[in-house]
Amino acid sequence: MKIINAANLNYRAVNEALCNADKDCMIESCCGQRFIAAGMSDKNITINGIPGNALGSYLNNANIVVNANAQDAVGDTMNEGKILIHGNIGDAAGYAMRGGKIYVKGNAGYRAGIHMKAYKEKIPVMIIGGHTGSFLGEYQAGGIIIVLGINTVGKPIVGNFPCTGMHGGKMFLRGNCKDICFPEQVTARYATSKDLDEIMEYLSEYCRDFTYSIDKLLSVPFTVITPDSKNPYKQMYVAN
């Protein structure tokens, strides 16, 4: 395995080193370098340290494991592959992603899954283990967002205004969500076993990745949120 020491390298140098590296490689002493693995395919990359913004943007088909927190815009416009974060992630994770998986052990910032979409066989999946900030799934157009609310220490599972402008895809929140105020254009209801079947494959994978018990995870009911096509999204900020 090739080891890239990122200390004192700028983002361009890190990405060049990645391009020239073996299929399996590791970045050490990462500190804020942006665009790591942007557009890359066929790599297995482990990152120690803090990767910069837009980690795995346009990711084609690579696997990225981060052993710490990641910053903003993880998986921006990602197409295929998997990003596994052992810490928390910043704002706007999975911005406009249209395929692949982002699995996060900890919390996500604001606007996770903003404008996530799907196309034919491409269904992006984002799973957040902890809680997320406001505007979760803003303008979601496709794909699946799952928030598990593990170890949230009294914090609500999502902040304000989840699903604002959501008009496609599905969101699963673990819990009854009775205190969460959803916008009028979405429908929130308890997930049936049929609903859960749809995400079982992903949940099992997530539990294997982070050594959680799937049974324990499923001992709490899930809420599923989908757009209500009879009452489409109109506006949030300004009444035009």
């Binding site: 700028n10 983002y11 500190c31 804020g32 370098q33 942006r34 665009f35 340290g49 803090i50 910069g52 913004n53 927190n69 910053q71 903003d72 928390n88 910043g90 704002d91 910032g109 604001y110 900030g133 406001s134 505007f135 902040g159 304000n160 105020c181």
Partner: protein, 365 residues
């Protein structure tokens, strides 16, 4: 030259701050280094720092940091100052000549105290008098700008990348209990020396990442109270708003945060704590013109503390971390890790949720 669209410039301003709750002194080196991993957030058209507790030997005097275009302007301004202040020290701010910082104005500092006779005849307290003097110089004396006017604190700013600006001003030779820093990427206002952050009035300083769309509404409101926006950029008005709310109106930091980053009415209506609901309703009703809209993450520095705040929609990033007596704030976690690799409790404050850190009572002056 390549134009926008032909070239991608990945930028977006950077802020960073550190404070010791015990009041322990730190050289400016740490805060300079924190800006390095965020280099690409700036474009070299502005960088600056504020240090608190850096002038203990002159702690009872206002430290006026000034830019002058010519020697003549400086002489004229000095004569003006001498009429109303006791000037206990007047000197060039020491700088290092480095190739990346050029076209510097004359950079001077004065340690001053307003003359008691002047204060008595005007019936003003010294803070108000100094604030008015700063406004007067910046608005009426062409070529002269006061860019720092607090006690036992100072700001240092220039056109350049922040890590170079820190070296230019020899910040490694200063020691403060708190520091803030800014790397600038000006979007629609000029990149000039006076337009670099921090923006200050008295001991309040602001570093800001973002762009406020309510600028003109805020500016017009503030002008009714004698604040003049002369520095050709939006952030300046935030500083004056904080001065107005905190010093003139006597609001707490938390209340001031609730004015400028007021929650949506729907969020206020949904509050279950009725006192809190009433307070927010009151503040939004009394100060509607001071709501700041558009993206911002700011750090407000003041004698004895810092306050970090995001706009209510949280359209900019901000991360907070801690280690022992120190608290770190930055646009990116990488900056915090540069200051303290083992920082703990890294978290992102929500939009409109102020993070207020104060130095232990009695140790900061």
């Amino acid at each position: 030259m390549k134009f926008e669209g032909q070239v991608r410039i990945p930028s977006g301003c950077a802020i960073s701050a550190v404070i010791s709750k015990e009041g322990n002194k730190m050289s400016g080196e740490m805060i300079i280094n924190s800006m390095k991993p965020m280099h690409d957030r700036s474009n070299g058209l502005g960088g600056g720092f504020a240090g608190y507790g850096i002038y203990p030997q002159y702690k009872d005097f206002y430290a006026l940091h000034m830019f002058f275009d010519t020697r003549d302007t400086r002489k004229k301004c000095e004569a003006f100052l001498k009429d109303q202040f006791e000037i206990v020290q007047s000197e060039i701010i020491p700088t290092r000549k480095i190739p990346v910082i050029t076209n510097e104005p004359i950079i001077w500092r004065y340690f001053v105290a307003p003359l008691q006779s002047v204060l008595t005849s005007l019936q003003l307290d010294e803070n108000e008098f100094v604030a008015r003097t700063v406004m007067k110089i910046n608005a009426e004396m062409p070529g002269a700008y006061v860019f720092s006017s607090g006690k036992n604190m100072g700001t240092f700013k220039a056109v350049g990348f922040p890590e170079d600006v820190g070296i230019f001003y020899k910040l490694d030779e200063y020691e403060g209990y708190s520091w803030t820093a800014h790397g600038r990427y000006p979007t629609n206002t000029p990149g000039w020396w006076g337009g670099a952050h921090p923006f200050t009035l008295l001991d309040y300083s602001i570093v800001h990442n973002g762009e406020i769309s309510s600028y003109d509404a805020n500016r017009r409101f503030m002008e009714m109270f004698g604040y003049k926006c002369t520095l050709q950029t939006d952030t300046e008005v935030i500083t004056y708003i904080m001065d107005y709310l905190l010093r003139i109106q006597g609001l707490t930091l938390g209340e001031a945060a609730s004015v400028i980053a007021a929650p949506f009415w729907s969020t206020i209506e949904a509050k279950t704590d009725l006192n809190d609901q009433q307070k927010h309703t009151y503040l939004r009703t009394i100060f509607p013109s001071l709501l700041i809209t558009g993206p911002f993450s700011i750090v407000l520095g003041f004698n004895g503390g810092l306050m970090a705040l995001n706009d209510r929609l949280k359209l900019r990033s901000m991360v907070v971390g801690e280690k022992k007596d120190k608290v770190f704030i930055a646009s990116e976690e990488a900056a915090i890790r540069t200051m303290e690799p083992n920082a703990e409790n890294i978290w992102s404050p929500a939009g409109g949720e102020p993070v207020i850190i104060k130095v232990k009572e009695g140790v900061f002056l």
